[in-house]
Symmetry: C2
Subunit: 184 residues, 2 copies
DNA sequence: GAGGATGCGGAGTGAGCACTCCGCTTCGGC
DNA sequence: GCCGAAGCGGAGTGCTCACTCCGCATCCTC
């Protein structure tokens, strides 16, 4: 692969993440090309379909998230780390969903996306488990429930911009729910 | 207004709710017309833009919800009513959001939608207040937080179909969070 | 039941999009 | 520096969709 081709490919990927985060997945490929400073032909040569472009942008995004999660996981008190992780994921999820949504709606995520999502999942699972071992987090929830709730929080802010205190209190309810021992 | 025009208008509205619930707001106007058994011209005469059609379908949907909520509110134990309401709203929210999302993305909801949403809000507020008076529901949350969380739950299931137990446990966490007294 | 107003259907229009194609430019091995 | 291969740009293509237009059918009044 020629050096300029490699560079262009990377520039397109970066531009795609930016554009999709800002405008959602319905942003045109032309806009991505413009932002990357290349022609549309170049974008389509590297990523033959829009689906392909979305998928690669999503993988890049998930890898960023996993790395940040790994940094959070090491060091802190596990319960505090879980809290930080939930907040971080809730913050990033709108961007993630913008890219994942059309993929899910059309034949589901591809292999690469699944692998990247799994890498995130592993880190979250580890933090959750350690948090549960402290006895301060209920044991009847797993990573799936966490992801579900975080995705919910994220989605809920995506459309109706919501007052910060409302969002904060809502997250608080969620975290309290996690901390409580389950009731009858 | 001629009698057949009135009937057609109603049929279009009903068809629109069905189609948008099934296929999302990106469903074509032609599909709505087909389902209603009319031509596209007729749809556009009654609702000059797609936005108009979405908005009227949304109002009809919200009015249904408000009526159901009123039925739930009367009679039951308030805490139980709140629980039922949350579950019901979580169930209906995907349909609601499918219609509301493009409106929000483009200039926000119109006056009619706001009024309909307010009618729902009033009922929920009343149930929440009565539930709080029993002392079994924390007092630092309001209708906004409830709507926010419910919308989240709804959205989260809309894309990734989620295992029923996961969803159930997640809702449980939310409801437990509501029930707990706030912790430090 | 006649006549005018009202409403209807669906072909047509233009805009926007994903994706293709090919003449030209740039790269890199020699 | 030369030259073939690799890569590039962006006009072109075909499709879908919201929305328009107008000749024709249907309704309602008198």
């Amino acid at each position: 692969m020629r050096a300029d081709a490699v560079a262009n490919r990377r520039r397109v990927l970066v531009a795609a993440q930016e554009v999709f985060a800002e405008q959602g997945a319905e942003a045109s490929t032309e806009e991505v090309a413009r932002r990357a400073g290349v022609g549309t032909g170049t974008v389509f040569r590297h990523f033959p379909t829009k689906r392909d472009l979305l998928e690669h942008a999503l993988v890049a995004h998930l890898d960023d998230l996993a790395e940040a999660a790994r940094a959070t996981a090491s060091g802190e008190d596990p319960v505090e780390a879980l809290r930080t992780l939930v907040a971080d994921m809730a913050g990033r999820a709108p961007t993630k969903l913008a890219m994942a949504e059309p993929l899910l709606a059309d034949d589901g995520l591809g292999e690469a996306s699944h692998a990247a999502a799994e890498r995130v999942r592993v880190v979250v699972a580890e933090v959750l488990e350690r948090a549960q071992e402290t006895g301060r987090v209920r044991r009847d929830v797993g990573v799936d429930e966490i992801h579900f709730l975080v995705r919910g929080i994220a989605q809920a802010q995506a459309f109706l911009p919501v007052a910060p205190e409302v969002r904060r209190r809502a997250v608080e309810v969620l975290l309290d729910g996690l901390r409580c021992a389950p009731r009858s």
